[in-house]
């Protein structure tokens, strides 16, 4: 083949790929997930004098890549909450799971001289020095959920309680079973501290019920595909049991599918995190899923509020304290058919 021929072929190749891009652009119309935006649920309305517009506050927000329903909800909650206040200007960075990249994004926010920083680190330990830099520069840091190594790196920590999530799941199951029966646990990624804490809380709660035995446990990876696979195998390993706790509602979509495929109805299931699909199922009450334990993404909305109060040097009027607290741990409520309507507006998709 001569070189001109070769060039010809290559050109043809490029033309072809050009055509493909065109076809792709057409098909891209199919990627829409838009739904008429009607509801814009925000966290429980704040009241009192604190809600009145005050000094303008610029809030920087840096989170990890939103590759999971819960993390996605964190970003949305922060944006929506900031939109409610005319005196809040939210500067949100493109999320990243790479520590170096997140550090540089935070550095950019510091350079822009934001008034308050909200950081949900991809990895708390790795991001500690960067957060301290912000504190040293006089910018108060609100640490969201994944905690920094030292209290010197944040002004206030707001986060969920993984241990209590397991505790509440275990106690709910214990009560519902009347203190007697067998239990199976479908955990999340086993190497994560949050999974270990959830499991420890669950086990500790089950100790209150000596006649309840945990007979099986498997670890999925917080996605539907592994949730389905591990659940299908667990169901084979345990032809009969009374209750199931699944750590995460995203993988729960797969787990529920595996349960339907096996045609099993001999137990009830409790989920975790609080996804909309899970709450819808609880409300409809047509599957084994009877409850889910919250890990509220509304913490991002709370963080925006606390950031605003910090920036305007205000305090929480419902507390007697003259300063904002340095640590706020959220409660992991158990959502059941009875109270699901309260939580449904804050469920994440």
């Amino acid at each position: 083949m001569t070189s001109s021929q070769a060039r010809d072929v290559r050109r043809r190749g490029f033309l072809l790929s050009g055509g493909l891009v065109g076809a792709g652009a057409l098909a891209a119309a199919c990627t829409s997930n838009a739904e008429p935006e009607a509801k814009a649920p925000t966290a429980a309305a704040a009241g009192g004098a604190n809600d009145k517009p005050g000094k303008k506050v610029t809030v920087g927000f840096a989170g990890p890549q939103a590759d999971h329903g819960w993390l996605n909800a964190i970003n949305e909650q922060a944006k929506k909450e900031a939109g409610r206040y005319s005196d809040v200007d939210l500067k949100i960075t493109e999320g990243s799971n790479d520590a170096a990249q997140q550090a540089s994004q935070i550095q950019t926010l510091i350079n822009q001289k934001v008034d308050v920083l909200i950081i949900l680190p991809a990895d708390g330990k790795q991001m500690t020095p960067t957060a301290r830099k912000a504190m040293d520069a006089g910018i108060p840091v609100i640490n969201l959920d994944r905690v920094f190594d030292t209290a010197q790196a944040y002004r206030t920590w707001i986060g969920g309680d993984n241990y209590r999530m397991g505790l509440n799941a275990g106690n709910y199951i214990g009560k519902r079973l009347g203190g007697k029966g067998t239990v199976v646990e479908l955990a999340g990624i086993d190497t994560l501290p949050l999974t270990q804490e959830r499991s420890k809380g669950f086990d500790d709660a089950l100790k209150n019920y000596p006649q309840i035995k945990k007979v099986g446990r498997a670890a999925a990876e917080f996605n539907v595909q592994t949730g389905q696979a591990r659940m299908a195998e667990l169901l084979q390993a345990h032809p009969k049991f009374d209750a199931l706790w699944n750590h995460d509602d995203d993988q729960g979509v797969g787990a529920l599918q595996a349960i339907r495929q096996a045609g099993r109805k001999d137990f009830f299931m409790v989920g975790g995190a609080g996804a909309k699909s899970a709450m819808d199922a609880i409300k409809k009450d047509d599957s084994v899923l009877k409850a889910t334990v919250l890990y509220p993404p509304t913490m991002a909305a709370s963080a925006v509020r606390v950031a605003r109060l910090l920036g305007q040097s205000k305090i929480m009027s419902d507390l007697a304290e003259q300063e904002l607290p340095s640590s706020i741990t959220l409660f992991s409520a158990v959502v059941t058919k009875e109270n699901v309507d309260t939580y449904l507006p804050f469920a994440f998709e």
Binding site: G24, S32, E35, D67, G69, E221, Q225, A237, R260, G263
Partner: protein
């Protein structure tokens, strides 16, 4: 012996059925002779090679038998039940279909690291609200189109842009998963009530004869088609020839570039089919799907006895490899062992399986040489 050895072309030889690969250029009359020549140029040893391939499979079957024994002994009441075997085969089918495509690519001398990301993108694209409007047919078409389209892009850049497959497919891995996250916004997208026909295929009342899951049938059909194309058509023989020695194949008159392109399209198509199966299994699509599928598929292909440098391999070996891995997973979950222990054992079993195969092969080679 120099270079990658062994092309199985002449095993099927003159008895081969007429070429089924109408997509490729119509073969000239003396095509057969040229392929033979290309095969000869790569130094095939014919008959003994076939035996070697079979031996590798025997080794894997041995591993599988040992695993089944372990499962049956540790959980006698649960392991060898109809339900559990359905679970194992169903879980094997998704990764199995991907492995079929991967076997073609690797035998053809390439590698496809983008399969997991393609599955993520295809499941997400096929389950968006905009796609679901078109119903079940739309979902199926979309998954296949995304798979084939991405495979086509891979193949075009590799074959005509002449960039190494490793780099192209790793780039596709990054961008396809990125696009999947972009489209889904990180959400898990479930099928709406209009498209439950797909989900129903996963339920027992839709099993064929009430016993065989449709997913396993799809898997079996893909494997059967793959086997026929690889072993009984010109397309298959060309794949072995090109993987064994692309230069000799080109000199023998094969359109190496077009063929390479088609191999990645085959892999993309398999990803599309696997995506539909995953949607049936989980009733949803998410950008987190297909995580590390590329490694699972490559591992299955390798322990199945396919040469990573191309030119030699069997589809049956790859399928056995998939079954070995799925069975290991199942046994570990049945016995309540932690993920960490599972990973250790998996690594050990891979090494043992490959060692076992090599010992068998060497003994065989030694005895046939004397």
């Amino acid at each position: 012996m120099t270079g990658p050895e062994g092309v199985r072309a002449e095993e099927t030889g003159a008895t081969a059925s007429p070429p089924a690969d109408s997509a490729a250029a119509p073969p000239p009359a003396d095509e057969q002779g040229r392929v033979e020549a290309a095969a000869a140029a790569t130094g095939a040893r014919g008959r003994s090679r076939l035996r070697l391939g079979e031996l590798r499979n025997v080794g894997l079957i041995g591993v599988l038998v040992v695993l089944v024994l372990v499962g049956a002994l540790t959980r006698p009441a649960e392991f060898l039940t109809y339900d559990n075997i359905v679970v194992i085969l169903t879980l094997a089918s998704v990764i199995g279909v991907i492995t079929v495509g991967m076997t073609f690519v690797i035998i053809g001398g390439g590698i496809d690291l983008s399969v997991g990301a393609l599955v993520a993108l295809a499941t997400v694209w096929a389950t968006t609200k905009a796609t679901q409007v078109y119903g079940t047919g739309g979902v199926i078409f979309c998954a296949l189109a995304v798979g084939v389209g991405c495979g086509l892009v891979n193949g075009l850049i590799i074959a005509y842009g002449r960039i190494v497959a490793f780099i192209v497919t790793i780039a596709m891995l990054a961008s396809a998963r990125g696009l999947a996250i972009n489209i889904s916004g990180g959400h898990t997208q479930t099928l709406n009530s209009d498209n439950q026909a797909l989900v129903n295929l996963g339920y027992k009342d839709h099993f064929l004869f009430g016993r065989i899951p449709p997913l396993v049938i799809i898997f079996a059909v893909v494997v059967a088609l793959g086997w026929i194309v690889l072993n009984r058509t010109t397309f298959g023989r060309r794949t072995f020839a090109i993987g064994g020695n692309p230069e000799a194949s080109r000199l023998a008159g094969l359109n190496v570039r077009l063929h390479t392109l088609l191999l990645y399209v085959v892999s993309g198509l398999c990803c599309g089919i696997a995506s539909i199966m995953l949607i049936i299994m989980t009733s949803s699509g998410t950008s987190a799907n297909g995580n590390l599928y590329e490694l699972d598929a490559i591992a299955a292909v390798i322990i199945g006895g396919t040469l990573l440098s191309g030119g030699r391999g069997t589809l049956i070996g790859s399928v056995l490899g998939v079954l070995v891995f799925t069975t290991i997973n199942d046994i570990f979950t049945l016995n309540n062992l932690t993920t960490a222990t599972q990973q250790i054992a998996k690594g050990v079993i891979i090494v043992i399986a490959v060692l076992f195969q090599r010992l068998l092969a060497e003994r065989r080679a030694g005895s046939s040489a004397s």
